[in-house]
């Protein structure tokens, strides 16, 4: 891919802008509430911009799926998620905002006890690990600048750590806005050019396998449903919770999520078809592309200088906005949920803020190690999502919706056995690979199903026994 000097200048300017924001935003932080939740002052447009940009981070993973399988990407990465977003907007958002807490483990302590908070914090930390996104950025920089993967990851992490440490959530909001504009513009500009250069729908029909143009993509129903279940991630997503807590009033979260769904819908159409155009052009011999980096290849081939720079910056911004938010959430997990609420309850605001800054380094460090260990972004999503969801969803949903007495032991057991089952199932699968190197699970069942089922059953049984015992 040929990148002109002007494109490099645009990318460098973007990073300088992030540094400048990081430098000036510190004066906006007056207390811990500002640092964690921007003083709970998010208005509707700010809520939407920060939610849309943060939530969408796995652009290369989406490229990989749409390149390899076509429209099924929209079904599994879009449609199922919209349904869960709607559920979140109508049934959870307002309750979360009204609780006026800070994190998901806060909710677990409210519903159950401190032990549930502690265990929930660990799973929460796993879920916000931005390893998949740091790997994405590393790959992008590796291709753009030719740097080694670890150097790319290191450089990106330094910039992100700088503005996140200085501005906390306020810094994230300001940078999210820039990133929101760049990601929308970047993704939207490529589709009209692809249609003009390669041709309309006929080009896709001629050059893609039939399955690419079906919603199921030739996948088994079970695999589609597992991806559908992964959408439940939203119900335990710390980024969603954090933005609901930070809203200025009770109506903003619901309205904001509904508007955000509109943005995601438009955005998902663009990303899915960009990946499909890349695959079709590749099959037609007009482009040499690989699945993981298909967006970079098609952009490099289609876009003129300046536009290419803007697209690449948009691509980086999409991932960057998620990396910073997730890193900050991981740090809040360490400082607020563990340090302040478990180990040092009388810690001052300043001590908690300092612990958060150390937490940013710890979270980023953990993610970097994982990113260098795993090779596929999609595999990493799947693994983290499966373990985290099978641990957290059941206790959280029971906490919000079950009116009867709730047992803390049921919550803890459900988290341990649910995630333990998923993990064991997964390990078994990876110890028994088939001839193509894919894991073979017991009875062909994906790990999330038994994990969620065990989590649910354990919760119900233990809750009944323990609540009876309490009486």
């Amino acid at each position: 891919m040929e990148i002109s000097i002007i494109d490099y200048i645009i990318i460098v300017c973007y990073f300088i802008l992030l540094f400048i924001i990081g430098f000036f935003v510190k004066k906006k932080v007056h207390n811990l509430n500002d640092y964690f939740l921007a003083g709970r002052r998010l208005t509707l447009p700010i809520f939407v911009a920060t939610l849309v940009s943060t939530w969408y981070g796995g652009l290369l993973g989406v490229g990989e799926l749409s390149f390899n399988y076509g429209l099924v990407n929209w079904l599994t990465q879009g449609f199922f998620w919209y349904l869960v977003y709607l559920f979140f907007a109508f049934f959870l958002a307002n309750r979360i905002r009204k609780s006026k807490l800070y994190t998901i483990p806060d909710q677990l302590e409210r519903f159950y006890d401190k032990k549930s908070r502690f265990l929930g914090s660990i799973f929460n930390f796993i879920m916000v690990t931005p390893a998949a996104y740091i790997l994405s950025l590393g790959l992008i920089f590796n291709i753009l600048f030719g740097w080694e993967l670890w150097i790319s990851i290191f450089v990106v992490s330094i910039v992100m750590i700088f503005y996140t440490i200085r501005g906390g959530f306020i810094g994230i909001i300001y940078t999210d806005f820039i990133q929101f504009i760049l990601m929308m513009a970047g993704v939207a500009m490529i589709i009209p050019i692809a249609v003009q250069k390669y041709g309309g729908f006929d080009f896709l029909v001629t050059n893609l396998p039939e399955t690419h143009l079906t919603l199921t993509g030739g996948w088994s129903t079970q695999l589609i449903l597992v991806w559908g279940l992964l959408a439940f991630w939203t119900l335990a997503d710390p980024g969603f919770y954090q933005r609901c807590y930070a809203s200025k009033d009770d109506k903003i979260p619901k309205k904001g999520i509904l508007i955000a769904i509109g943005f995601w819908f438009l955005f998902d159409i663009c990303t899915t078809f960009t990946g499909m155009y890349a695959a079709a052009a590749n099959n037609a011999g007009l482009l040499s592309a690989e699945a993981t980096t298909s967006y970079l290849s098609i952009a490099g081939s289609l876009l003129p200088p300046v536009f290419l720079g803007l697209f690449l910056t948009g691509l980086i911004a999409t991932v960057m906005s998620t990396v910073d938010s997730f890193t900050f959430l991981g740090a809040m997990n360490i400082s607020h949920d563990l340090y302040k609420n478990i180990f040092k309850p009388n810690a001052t605001d300043k001590q908690v803020m300092n612990a958060t800054k150390i937490g940013i380094f710890i979270t980023a460090g953990f993610a970097i190690i994982l990113a260098l260990f795993f090779k596929s972004i999609v595999t990493m999503w799947y693994t983290i999502g499966t373990i985290g969801i099978s641990a957290l969803i059941v206790p959280i949903l029971f906490g919000f919706f079950y009116k009867g007495k709730k047992s803390p032991i049921a919550a803890v057991s459900s988290m341990i056995f649910g995630s333990g089952t998923s993990l064991s199932w997964m390990i078994y699968g990876y110890l028994n690979l088939d001839q193509w190197g894919w894991p073979q699970y017991i009875a062909g069942i994906e790990p999330l199903y038994p994990g969620l089922l065990v989590s649910l059953l354990v919760f119900i049984v233990v809750n009944i026994i323990h609540v009876r015992g309490m009486k």
Partner: protein, 45 residues
């Protein structure tokens, strides 16, 4: 009509929606805050 035109329409709507949201975002960020000193003075009176 070629369905690809709908893709272009999708991209155009995305850009317009982004511009509108950005306008309101900037408006909110630079909105002047009420001055708390005046309220305090009133209370004292």
């Amino acid at each position: 009509m070629d369905p690809a035109n709908l893709l272009i329409l999708d991209a155009v709507i995305l850009i317009i929606a982004t511009i509108i949201l950005s306008y309101f975002f900037i408006k909110d960020i630079f909105k002047k805050k009420k001055k708390p000193i005046k309220i305090l003075k009133k209370k004292k009176q």
